[in-house]
Subunit: 116 residues, 2 copies
Amino acid sequence: MISPTQFFKCLSDETRLRCVTLMQKEGKLCVCELTTALDLSQPKISRHLASLRQCGLLQDSREGQWVFYQINPNMPDWTGPLLKNALQAVESTTVFKEDLQRLQKMENRPEFVGCC
Amino acid sequence: MISPTQFFKCLSDETRLRCVTLMQKEGKLCVCELTTALDLSQPKISRHLASLRQCGLLQDSREGQWVFYQINPNMPDWTGPLLKNALQAVESTTVFKEDLQRLQKMENRPEFVGCC
DNA sequence: CGTTAATATATGATTATACGAATATTAATA
DNA sequence: TATTAATATTCGTATAATCATATATTAACG
């Protein structure tokens, strides 16, 4: 189970915080969406997502060629309010607004269709 | 002004998180109280307090031979809920309960008397 | 003054993080 | 099967964080 210290370490890197915040707001996102939204290299995004998954903060689910990430719904209770407040703290920043814009402008976004 | 990333970095180290949580709960504390409560070396505590002060998270006030630290009351609004939730997340842990016990058992605790 | 208690800082070693670049893996599709 | 798109990982390196130890500073007090 993730510790408070470890939880804050997850959010202490700008790339990771932007990814988590985007997923908090938008739900499931795949690596290429995050790469586009944050305008960063694919290996960089992928490495941070892997570390967040190892901490248990994220879940991944492969959907054909895409791998979707989302906030792990089975996190301990105390993380819920913290994530909500983190989102509120971040979403008003310029950087995050730009992330969101790039994501919304992105063409050919893969859709998560689940098991149908 | 402190950024969300920087704020989380402050809380991402166990020593710092324990200090901040104790001050959140107990108000002003001096270095020797924190050293006793956390059972760690004085230079280690002092260095972490200095870094928290540099980030703006803490304020210090010298009172004779003692230096008291407290959560900076002039932090940006978005930090309030996060600090409150952090406290709630930490105070149930074994480590923090022990910190609190050592603090309460401490003899000859200096009292902050302010300007009188 | 000289001493002592409280706190801060410097130093050097160690460890951890983050990165770009290159490469590997996986799955879809021609 | 060959190729391509999406994602993951490895490697070497650079930077930052943390630590223990030693020492400096500051204030109180005899």
